[in-house]
Symmetry: C2
Subunit: 132 residues, 2 copies
Amino acid sequence: MISTRGRYAVRVMIDLAENNTGSYIPLKDIAARQGISKKYLEIIVKDMVAGGLLTGASGKGGGYRLCREPEEYTIGEIIELMEGSLASVACLASGAMPCPRADACETLPLWAEYDKLTHDFFYGKKLSDLVR
Amino acid sequence: MISTRGRYAVRVMIDLAENNTGSYIPLKDIAARQGISKKYLEIIVKDMVAGGLLTGASGKGGGYRLCREPEEYTIGEIIELMEGSLASVACLASGAMPCPRADACETLPLWAEYDKLTHDFFYGKKLSDLVR
DNA sequence: TAAAAACCTATTGACATAGTAGGTAAAAGG
DNA sequence: CCTTTTACCTACTATGTCAATAGGTTTTTA
């Protein structure tokens, strides 16, 4: 299941795309519009900056903004960054120990096929597709 | 992510389909073949019996067996039974509180579309498709 | 220089995961 | 009948993740 980290991140991205004024948007405003705790969003947004989705600016007049055009972001990269992986099973997660049963496993191809479906779905959606 | 409950359940089903002798298969044998703790499998298999996937028989000569033909099971029903839901987000899980923001939510259609994809994928696979 | 904002570290309660432990009940074989 | 084999049952536990909260410090602009 996709957790609040991934879901809130997508909503922050949409919010920034829809409320783009050219200048920085304070997190307070995003939190108020989205009805999400500002304190919790701080943690999420910090990782989004570290992952290159957003840029932040401290001080008065500061806040956050997108660092690319909405059509240059895929939903897949947002979710994958925030959730750590899009993989459906632990054996296929990036950084997982290779499973000793992988060669004989009769279920691995199933999970791999589903993972490809998932990957193609989310990387095929652009942020701009979700902006009204 | 699909947990061991769902993954092990699918493996038990495949194991039973492949080693079908007409009589009951002891869990000890399944656990040994699959390399999974028998004690842990007990918990999982118990729920599979309760959910109507398997029938169990106590006593000497007892064990478990499928109660339908392999082509009459979908992978979707196995996973959904064991994981509680196939939903990708909490707001769409069966039994979830309806989200007050659902009407205005710009991400809900995305999750709903993905859920449909997931549902169609797993309900489109039959147990017999995974048996060698 | 004061306000507004990001940025930082730490903590918490609740729950899920992946098991382990130690039994009781049932059924068949000898 | 009795022993073995098997399912079935309740309880416990260690670890980790999730979704926040709390209380600061630093940076920047007006």
